[in-house]
């Protein structure tokens, strides 16, 4: 079972361009589809209104973690916490990290989202390897499925 999502995407744009798209709150809002109230500041809550069609009634919130210029941008949030009646504050947030690397043709962006539960994934895999039942096979499926999508 995989408790993290990892995506790698090649962007035909310089690192500085991608960095601005990630960390300038207006630019971020355009592709992420959220209207943010102000700039991203490490340690502070970023708030806004979702602009994604069909979801405009929802608020967006994240806590900015790291801003390491042209290298790493990260925040914690409750992924797609979209039920206005539900209190998500008691749930452990997940960590979203955008890492940038220069390539000959532009930028490699590696996105990870981790911490869907509090179990370290290696510890869990070990636990599930202890049996050879159906669920162990299921775990393998999930692993390769997530790997394919990444």
């Amino acid at each position: 079972m995989n408790d993290r999502i990892e995506k790698r995407i090649e962007l035909k744009a310089p690192v500085s361009r991608v960095w601005r798209a990630l960390t300038d709150h207006r630019e971020f809002g355009e592709w992420f589809r959220v209207r943010l109230e102000g700039p991203f500041v490490p340690g502070q809550v970023a708030r806004g209104q979702i602009t994604h069609p069909g979801y405009e009634h929802l608020k967006w919130e994240a806590v900015v973690q790291k801003i390491e210029p042209e290298r790493l941008f990260s925040f914690t949030w409750h992924p797609y916490a979209i039920d206005p009646k539900m209190d998500y504050s008691q749930e452990t947030p997940t960590l979203v990290e955008f890492r940038l690397e220069k390539t000959p043709t532009g930028t490699l962006l590696v996105l990870t989202e981790s911490g869907f539960d509090k179990i370290p994934s290696n510890r869990r895999l070990e636990a599930f390897r202890m049996n050879d039942g159906g669920w162990a096979a299921q775990m393998k499926n999930i692993e390769s499925h997530v790997a394919q999508k990444a």
Partner: protein, 115 residues
């Protein structure tokens, strides 16, 4: 958007929080590892080989039961517990949804920086 449609979207995105919470414990994780082989086990069987008391194991089993990960089944005088894979499926579906959402979001980013 209609209220019904909204709540349908919300239900689709409902994080299976109780399932995550129930699994976030070493003892419960080891109980799941024992039970997910498919064979229902008694509390005594599940207590054997651990340093925990029967009461402690029972308490953990109740937490797993309330998240739907295990079910208690009575056979005669003994109470057995069996694994239910459905809540785990729910987690997989949830992570798949979040993953799909990232695919869409990142393709919008690609268009945005490459234009």
């Amino acid at each position: 958007m209609s209220r019904r449609k909204r709540s349908a979207i919300a239900a689709r995105w409902q994080a299976p929080a109780p399932v995550f919470a129930a699994l976030g414990d070493e003892t419960r994780l080891s109980l799941v590892a024992k039970l997910c082989a498919g064979q229902p086990r008694s509390i005594s069987q599940l207590t054997a080989g651990t340093r925990l008391t029967r009461q402690a194991i029972t308490k953990h089993l109740r937490v797993l039961e309330s998240a739907g990960i295990v079910h208690g089944v009575r056979t005669g005088r003994e109470s057995l517990f069996e694994f239910d894979p459905q809540p785990m499926e729910q987690i997989k579906n949830y992570i798949d949804l979040v993953s799909e959402q990232w695919d869409q979001t990142l393709s919008r980013l690609k268009l945005f920086v490459e234009r």
